[in-house]
Amino acid sequence: MARVIVVTSGKGGVGKTTTSASISTGLALRGFKTAVIDFDVGLRNLDLIMGCERRVVYDLINVVNGEANLNQALIKDKHCDNLFILPASQTRDKDALTEEGVEKVLKDLEHLGFDYILCDSPAGIERGAVMALTFADEAIVVSNPEVSSVRDSDRILGILQSKSRRAIEGREPVKEHLLVTRYSPKRVEDGEMLSYKDVQELLRIPLIGVIPESDDVLQASNQGTPAIHLKDSDVATAYQDVIARFLDEDRPLRFVTYEKPGILKRLFGGK
């Protein structure tokens, strides 16, 4: 059985696509056959973050409309053999996504032997976002430690609990995970930023990880390489920890406490 995971947040710019790229890559690196679907119809960006933008021929809407089959539309990742990207359409509008169409794509992916299917949700609570979460078995709710992001995350949790198939059919609810991104331990210590514990207390769902704020994320997107591939990067390590926890391995949280830079570091610079 393929597991469908939606990466969602409500608010834009919190790190959904970065997270989708890194988590799908991480699962593929662990040996799982993984597909990642961009649901942001009209504003596709996952292809850029994954570095496959020049290889897009067909997209999700083409497949939904039967203009192309899945094998034609799936793009094999340049780093991992068992990772495939299904891009969003850049030209159509979001009404082209139908529930039956999406369900069929997911079923077909399952028949192709995929273990995990990640759905990269668009921002907002409109059709694209609802379609991305409708068939989810698990949800990774990405939230920044910031008021508007936390509030929107709570809204999207409400939608998960009312509009997902699992909720409508009264099956076991969607398994929810909280991922706090763009976290700055120093600002938390200074009382300028909500702590991950605050965010978790407000949203009341289990925490799967904390990704530190880092310049590396921009460096990764500049090159079209998912951040999890970066060498010696806290962000990459934090995403690997998230993968481990997702697979039920025990990993203590890292990068959540601020360490004062030592005298040498302060004299000679460095991050």
């Binding site: 910031e146 008021v147 936390v150 509030r151 709570d154 809204r155 409400g158 609990q161 009312s162 938390v188 200074d190 009382g191 300028e192 930023m193 909500l194 702590s195 605050d198 407000l202």
Partner: protein, 86 residues
């Protein structure tokens, strides 16, 4: 003392202000957005039944679902009209 606290800043940190504001607004929105779908219907039918016996209007009944810990409380508040001499 007040001069010291002025310089060293005893004002609440913005993060705790954020948390307090969020906990209020989230609790409020959970109440309104996550109300089960049957509430409006329940309210309409209650009005229909009660107005058979007492003269009440649609605005005289308030149905609310509140959550306190693990316990859900269905609150039905009916305002009866003042007794009118027959």
């Amino acid at each position: 003392m007040s001069l010291l606290s002025y310089f060293f800043g005893n004002k609440p940190k913005t993060a705790s202000v954020a948390k307090e504001r969020l906990s209020l607004i989230i609790a409020h929105e959970r109440g309104t957005n996550r109300a089960p779908d049957f509430l409006p219907d329940l309210q309409r039918e209650l009005i229909a039944v009660i107005s058979k016996y007492v003269n009440v209007g649609p605005d005289d009944i308030k149905v609310q679902l509140e959550k306190q810990g693990n316990c859900e409380i269905l609150e039905v508040n009916i305002t009866l009209p003042d007794q009118q001499p027959k």
